[in-house]
Symmetry: C2
Subunit: 608 residues, 2 copies
């Protein structure tokens, strides 16, 4: 698959966009006209710059409101087109995108549209240019791709073909069957965009909410497979209008875009040789979570881990990192961090860490160069968009060269809690910078093979927070990504990171904390009054929940009980959860209660 | 009109919300249930706090999915309601809002709904509580207010009435005629919200985009007038779900909310005695614009003003402020600013400055206390939400105590340009902080009587910018408000402020700058190639425009030619415009070209 990206997908100047597209490994670009008009580079300079970067200029776009017009308007439109063909000659772009007319007075006459497009193709041909006609979803007379194809077919001109844009087709819910009717030599161009399912004016949806394949709700795999089945050999080019991407770092966004096409390519089982991905290894759960904690928070962090049943079992041989463990649940505590507390790394158990890392690298994840001492394990790790390290580990075989646990010196006598209370890391909650959210979802989806659930919105006391979970099929790896709906997070607590541990008896764990004097996050009494009104819970259970700060949620599949620790420096907290039945959520209904409680400076924790 | 506000309109804790509502002068509040549940205050403490603040608790809301259910569900719902009635007893709230059932399995049976609501009203009545039933626009079986009224009428219970919410009615485009059919003693509550006209799922529209009356596109005046015509004497209470307001300063938002009701009250010609506003004075145009410029930019600012035809004509008697003038166009240059450059004040000519200020104060604009020397004019001024000072002046009568020009000492010989080039301040462009935009529109609309035009979105090179003009009926006062669509403006140039001067011959002005070596903002050649393709402009005109950096726009009403100065420290620039015919816009199509050019660090200005 040849890949391309429209300059409108990326932020910055035209130079910025070209460079970002080239760095991410795209084969070509579409020049979005306003990006050229606002550029100081002449079309010829753009051509040279693109060539230097190894990018072809596959499309000049868009040309609007051309067809279905009265004769005098046609003359003006042809004159306008001639001027654009001259620009394209300079650019070295051989295909122009003509969108179906959206003006209110467009004439409803396919024969006229065919004739006028043929006249345009005649002029284009003289320049060696091809015209790709596309039905916009909100076109006045032509809004379906098969309609555009009938007009093109009737025009029967070698320089006239169609462009298919997945958004315009999938947003209307059009059947994809008619794609097979298009001759491959008349399918001049294919544009790809995904989008979340929204019920709104399709133009606004298109202009603001498009996203890269795999980030939305459209079936791009089927669309792409059907296009490939026609014999189409041209570029698959991303054309994504997205308010957030428009203002994000173009280099990062271009990588995100390219990654989306690598995954798509794999999903249609047509990876080109260059892009063939390593098969995913089996990922079996969390190996560890690493916390970086600044000196002033180390004591409180240790106290909390201890209260939840962890003991310090080993020390890294060369780094200021302690291993805290119970059963196979492991937390690394890095006390040498200048700033914190924060989750700096997550590690997953891989059946083949090297293969996992190789696949991640092919998916454009930056490989982390690790400082390691002589004889220490080579840990396979990549960096997530927000800077979190993602390790691939095998913890079950000691003694190999890549056995990370061998880098730790066990402590002889384990001082601390005998309590075995939590059984695994249930999930990790990572707050994302505002313009990283969709990128992060796609990153974890691609690198860890996690499936995204629906986004939910949480009404935090100081603004809305969007939350989206990505989980492995068996639920062994769960990540929750959070972001402020409107940038500028005014609520740092809504944005705190957390590690949630799963247990099978939350009251025993919570009671233990209570007994040893470690406060859980105090929940307002009004919450329990409401709980009593909503659910028929046993009074003793309600009373114990209120005493211990345990919250409750219920779904048709099961129940969820959970409590929160105090928040370390406003930035990191722990959660302990008990899932009953097949409850698969995260207690989103309770998140606003948590965020409100975490904001209270004085009353953040109950006296236990 | 009694006024109220739902706690969901405001950000923060319940305490924050109560305090903000009281400070802004509301009579009462609606308690949005999640705000109580997340609060540490018991219902009784909320009651006490509200009473201390002089607020009545007019409504407890919302109670959901009550009616149209099978018998066993009814029992559960009644039990849930009993628990809420007990909370309301503690709160001292005597009305509960019941929203029409939205669940997929709601039973379509008005008689059943009536019967079940009657059962609820019976229980409520025992607590001295009234039930206000409201049709949600997305209710499963009941989505129209007249339908809700028929059900209530049939139930015929003294403790059961209806609540009308302007959003649910106006978003559906329902006729307002049936409001007259509702007995005033059965109209228990009225909620007000405006919203921009959007084509989208009504639930999402309601949950994210509501705004205060006068900020959107609904006719709240007609709605309110029809409600008043029924004889309704209860509160008009704002219920606005808005993503931006949710995260903004609650004190500011409460004032904005209250101001919207003051204007609405005036528009229905029913101002209560307390809220009777001073009649607006006639505002005739800009008296001056004041620029604060830090020492390092003073020279360049003076050079630009001089080039555009201004001369320094007077100095303030006691402040480091110079008056720059040509004809009746005045710019005050405050060179004593620590930070700048910025537009710190705008001043409008008022037929009665005191009355204008009195009206502004009644509209909750903060009156500015001015430092003035003995014998200096008392200037009537208020502060806009973003901190810009707004002065009301009379410049035509010297010698009075309030004559601001008398505070300036004329300079004897006017050194400087003899050129008379610009004729008036065409408009002022003010960039707004992200969460101030709707508030600013309503502020200028109310305080200066300016009518808002439609918002437009500008595709700046580093993100979208929203722009909305507010103008006086005769066009003498025009303001353009800009804001980044997604907070965190990564493009300070997109956010620069500006003053635009109107002239009648732009080429003479631009040529003068060129001749004296003052560069205008250099516009890319590609822009002119595109202009040539789009419009049939005379080649000489195009050539002159390109040479001088003049841009062009056209509407059915006329033409617009304009150029930009260099940008002072990236924060302030001047524009010179020529309006031909009845062109009423601002050249929005050219704004992305400007913003891209302004971003270029090296090539920001052409060599003249």
């Amino acid at each position: 698959m040849r890949t391309g990206i429209a300059t409108v997908c990326l932020s910055g100047t035209l130079e910025d966009k070209l460079q970002a597209a080239a760095h991410a490994g795209f084969d070509g670009i579409e020049i979005f006209e306003p990006d050229l008009i606002t550029s100081r580079l002449s079309p010829r300079e753009v051509r040279i710059r693109a060539a230097e970067l190894g990018l072809s200029i596959d499309l000049y776009q868009p040309f609007r409101d051309f067809e279905g017009v009265p004769p005098e308007r046609l003359e003006r439109n042809l004159r306008r087109a001639e001027a654009k063909f001259e620009v394209m000659d300079e650019l070295g772009a051989d295909t122009i995108l003509v969108c179906s007319n959206v003006s209110a007075d467009a004439i409803d006459d396919d024969e006229l549209a065919s004739r006028q497009l043929r006249a345009l193709a005649d002029r284009a041909q003289a320049h060696g240019i091809r015209v790709a006609y596309e039905a916009l979803a909100w076109g006045r007379r032509v809004s379906e791709y098969d309609h555009a194809w009938r007009i093109v077919e009737a025009a029967d001109h070698p320089a006239l073909g169609v462009c298919l844009d997945s958004f315009h087709i999938l947003s209307r819910g059009s059947s994809l069957r008619a794609i097979a009717d298009i001759s491959p030599d008349k399918l001049f161009f294919v544009q790809l965009a995904d989008a979340p399912h929204l019920i709104m004016d399709v133009l606004q949806w298109s202009r603001h909410y498009r996203c890269f394949p795999g980030q939305g709700g459209f079936d791009l795999t089927e669309f792409t497979a059907r296009v490939l089945a026609t014999g189409y050999g041209g570029p698959f080019s991303l054309e994504v209008f997205n308010d957030v991407f428009r203002q994000a770092d173009p280099e990062r966004m271009a990588v995100d875009a390219r990654r989306s096409l690598l995954l798509l390519e794999e999903s249609v089982q047509r990876p080109s040789d260059a892009a063939r991905l390593a098969q995913p290894a089996v990922l079996a759960g969390y190996a560890f979570v690493e916390l970086a904690v600044e000196p002033s928070s180390v004591g409180e962090t240790q106290r909390l881990l201890h209260a939840i049943g962890f003991s310090q079992t080993a020390l890294h041989r060369t780094k200021p990192v302690a291993l805290w463990q119970q059963r196979e649940v492991r937390v690394l505590l890095n006390a040498g961090a200048p700033a914190g507390p924060a989750i700096t790394a997550i590690a997953v158990e891989s059946s083949d860490p090297s293969r996992s890392a190789a696949r991640a690298e092919m998916l454009l994840a930056p490989i982390l160069a690790r400082q390691r001492g002589p004889g220490e394990a080579e840990l396979a790790a990549v960096s997530a968009p927000d800077g979190t390290s993602v390790f691939f580990c095998r913890s079950d075989q000691h003694g190999g060269t890549d056995q990370w646990l061998d880098d730790f010196e066990p402590l002889g006598a384990v001082a601390g809690s005998e309590l075995v209370s939590v059984e695994r890391i249930d999930h990790v909650g990572l707050t994302q910078p505002f313009d990283y959210f969709d990128e992060a979802v796609l990153f974890y989806r691609s690198i860890l093979g996690l499936a995204p659930l629906e986004s939910v919105e949480l009404a935090a006391p100081h603004g809305l927070v969007r939350s989206r979970a990505v989980t492995s099929a068996d639920g062994a790896i769960r990540l929750v990504l959070n972001v402020s709906v409107l940038a500028a997070d005014s609520d740092p607590h809504g944005g705190a990171q957390h590690v949630a541990f799963a247990c099978s008896d939350i009251f025993t764990v919570a009671r233990h904390l209570h007994d040893i004097g470690v406060a859980t996050l105090s929940i307002p009494a009004n919450y329990y009054d409401d709980l009593a009104a909503r659910y028929e819970l046993a009074p003793e259970q309600l009373e114990a929940m209120q005493e211990l700060g345990v919250l409750y949620d219920r779904s048709p599949e099961g129940e969820f009980l959970h409590f929160y620790s105090a928040t370390l420096a406003g930035r990191l907290f722990f959660e302990v959860v008990e899932r009953r039945g097949a409850y698969a959520g995260y207690g989103a209904a309770n998140a606003p209660v948590r965020m409100a409680a975490q904001r209270e400076p004085a009353a953040a924790t109950s006296s236990a």
